[in-house]
């Protein structure tokens, strides 16, 4: 899968998300993603990652072997980068 396809999947599942995807191995099956969404505000860290996995759906563990995740609310993201 191309990083852009994965990005599109996550953005489709989490509509307000800002998403960056990197192909970490150059083999189009190991990725790392940063996902920023307001919808994460009421979710625990586990639930935030689960909502990203849900967006990737059936591709997860098949076309996508590994997906390293960093999830942020817009507030946390601003703190991180201040």
């Amino acid at each position: 899968m191309e990083p852009n396809e994965l990005k599109a999947l996550i953005e489709k599942g989490i509509t307000d998300a800002k998403v960056e995807v990197v192909d970490t191995t150059g083999t189009k099956d190991h990725f790392s993603a940063v996902v920023i969404s307001k919808s994460f505000e009421k979710l625990s860290l586990v639930e935030q990652h689960q909502s990203v996995y849900k967006a990737v759906g059936a591709f997860m563990t098949k076309e996508v072997h590994a997906l390293q995740l960093k999830t942020y609310t817009p507030k946390k993201w601003a703190e991180q980068n201040s």
Binding site: L45, V46, H49, Q50, Y53, M60, T61, A66, L67, Q68, L69, K70
Partner: protein, 102 residues
Amino acid sequence: MELSEQIKTDISQNPIILYMKGTKEMPMCGFSNQVVQILTHYGVDYKDVNILEDPEIRTKLSEESGWPTIPQLFVKGKLIGGADIAMELHQKGELLDILDIS
């Protein structure tokens, strides 16, 4: 015992349990190894389950947990997360409180 029952029992009866590729002595995947290293750092006792021994474990486990990838770390019956979350909680200094099962 049926496999999914076995998984539920293992998760509820072991205060800390790590589903991983390989064993804690010999992790077979970088992400599994990462969690092993973190747990070793804290010196906590935990049960390891090698999902490579039976691919069915992974399927059933993910059905139970709603988490698609390996490793999966459970503490007191609750899914803490995979390698990224374990590392993030470790770096934030929050993991020891979670692992403090005494």
